[in-house]
Amino acid sequence: MTDEERDQLISAALDGERVNLEDLRAALASPAGGATAAEFILLRAAVSNDRDGAPGVVVAVAEERQHPRHPWRLLSWPRVPAGLAASLLLAAAAASFWAGKSWRGPTFDSAIPGPAVAVTTPAPKAAPDIGPATRPQVGDMVVPPTPARVLRFTPGVDWHEGS
């Protein structure tokens, strides 16, 4: 039996597994085998030493987690004020929309007569009679009037003085 086989046998025996008793006796009889067994037992004791360190897990907490959506949970803080605020905001928005859609501007009572106002507008001017011709002909041109006074420009003479 090799050292590894010996230690493996001791390990299995400590775990309560079925082993050959003669082989186990021989393994434990050797100094190395005895030391191995002692080390394994100490190791088991070290692992078991934290047995008291485990806190108790409350069953009720776990049970509560099983049903995380109880109806009354919806009424818990801060869901209530948040829900109320959201409802008010929604109602205000709906009311504003309805009011804006239904308002048609200011209305007047037709039974009350309004003030009488007389408005006089000038008669429209008659359009000038331009005659039937649309294009003036040379023969139709009007002779310009004869001038009543003729002023002649003479260089060096101030024409303002005599006038």
């Binding site: 230690d7 299995a12 692992v47 934290d50």
Partner: protein
């Protein structure tokens, strides 16, 4: 309403489940959470009419599966960072601290089998069923783990 059988089953194994998860994760808050989830799983299983074979192995399998759902690598890394500066007041504390450190350095599968044996008290056959491996593999894991822990703790005594 909680079935009375669920409370009884949980009460029988609660303490060791907590120790197992605490050793696996290194975090008390995770151990608390997993213990509560184990209780819920027990309740649901019984409500659904699930058959409970070997009770202790079944409960530890639930805890182990819940642990597997979490990112154990990240949890362990965080736990190591949290506790690395803790001083040891006396020899007993030094041994406990050394054991914690040695357990953390183990491979997950080895630590799992070791804790299922030492804390859960499961047989090789039950551990093999929980871990989905062979009995020989369990035997080898336990022996390997013991030798590693023995070597790690020799300097502390």
């Amino acid at each position: 309403m909680t079935p009375p059988a669920a409370e009884a089953i949980y009460a029988r194994h609660q303490r060791d489940i907590y120790r197992y998860v605490l050793r696996m994760s290194g975090r008390p808050d995770v151990a608390d959470d997993v213990c509560q989830d184990v209780f819920l799983r027990i309740v649901r299983a019984l409500q659904n009419g699930g058959a409970v074979g070997h009770e202790r192995g079944w409960v530890f399998a639930i805890a182990r599966n819940l642990m597997a759902d979490r990112n154990r690598t990240a949890l362990r890394r965080a736990a190591v960072e949290d506790t690395s500066a803790e001083p040891a007041a006396d020899a007993s504390q030094a041994l406990a601290y050394g054991l914690d450190e040695a357990l953390r350095r183990l491979a997950d599968a080895d630590r799992d089998a070791f804790l299922l044996k030492e804390i859960g008290g499961l047989t090789y056959v039950e551990i093999a069923a929980v871990c989905s491996c062979t009995v020989e593999s369990v035997r080898a894991r336990l022996f390997r783990t013991r030798m590693q822990l023995r070597a790690a703790l020799q300097g502390l005594r």
